[in-house]
């Protein structure tokens, strides 16, 4: 099934929604309004002719001004795949979770939250997954500035001559 065919199916099912075809390479994608991604995802998974029963990857991209959340979905039953995209503004990066539709999404969403700061509304456990809990900021954002220190350790590379004194004590 091509992305264009899928787009027609979605337009027929959700007549009020503004879907868009993003003719990107190598995969063209369908742009979905952020607040409706949950309903669309549930339909894509449960409709027998589509049956997208697997979320292969959920990732986030910083487009400077907006975040793009990308869903790569696959149907093991029917053997077709597609890409969904959701755009949210940087000031209010809130996307409804799809964790209850594909359980895979729960950790992927935690990763996107951890590194990009996209907030997944309705996620059961939205904590950092890779970085330490007391980390400040989201490092994969374009405007991220690395902090000078983390727990007394310098983050920048120093010459041996100005390496700080050894931190001996347990925290």
């Amino acid at each position: 099934m091509t992305t264009e065919e899928l787009l027609e199916i979605l337009k027929a099912k959700f007549p009020g929604l503004a879907f868009e075809l993003a003719a990107t390479k190598p995969d063209s994608a369908i742009r979905v309004p952020a607040e409706k991604i949950g309903e669309v995802a549930a339909f894509l998974r449960d409709e027998p002719t589509l049956r997208f029963d697997m979320l292969m990857c959920l990732s986030a991209v910083d487009r400077k001004g907006s975040f793009e959340v990308v869903y790569h979905i696959f149907s093991m039953t029917n053997g077709h795949r597609s890409v969904l995209k959701v755009f949210v503004p940087t000031e209010k990066p809130q996307v409804p979770t799809v964790g209850h539709i594909w359980r895979t999404a729960e950790w992927h969403e935690r990763e996107a939250f951890d590194l990009m700061g996209v907030e997944f509304v309705g996620h059961p456990d939205l904590r950092r997954i890779l970085l330490p809990d007391d980390w400040e900021g989201h490092p994969l954002r374009k405007d991220y500035k690395t902090a000078e220190e983390y727990q007394g350790l310098r983050t920048a590379y120093d010459n041996l001559n100005d390496t700080p004194d050894l931190a001996w004590e347990l925290p």
Binding site: L131, P132, T146, Q151, L153, T155, A156, Y157
Partner: protein
Amino acid sequence: MGVLEGRFGDNILITSVDKVFDWGRSRSLWAVTFGLACCAIEMMCTGASRYDLDRFGTFFRPSPRQADLMIVSGTVTFKMASRLKRIYHQMADPKWVIAMGSCAICGGPYWQRGYSVVKGVDQIVPVDVYIPGCPPRPEALIAGLLELREKVIMKEKVLAKAAQEA
């Protein structure tokens, strides 16, 4: 040798207790099982049959309580730093640390943009031997171990060498 020289019969050696202990320590450097990244693969390979670290008395022990040596083999992240320090403190004295590979020495390929990487494990624990490489070959690790063995058994010689180089 002083007053004890020649006081005993043949086949009796006289030495100081420290020297005997250091000799024993240098020949049985048990390393804590602790790998961080691709250097750990190389370290495991060194421990396996082809390179066979057992020849040098180095075994990997599953507990830091039983280990004398920590081989920091790989990238140390800030999240790992406190754990690494804890493992080091759990080891019984005397203990030694080998920084294996570029990452453990200075942050390696992450020295500039690695926001989450410690730029050198010597910021956290004292390092005895640095082994450069990305990752170092097993031969390099063995060479580092032999260097450490020399450091353990011949402190004066090593100190003199360091003073000479300085």
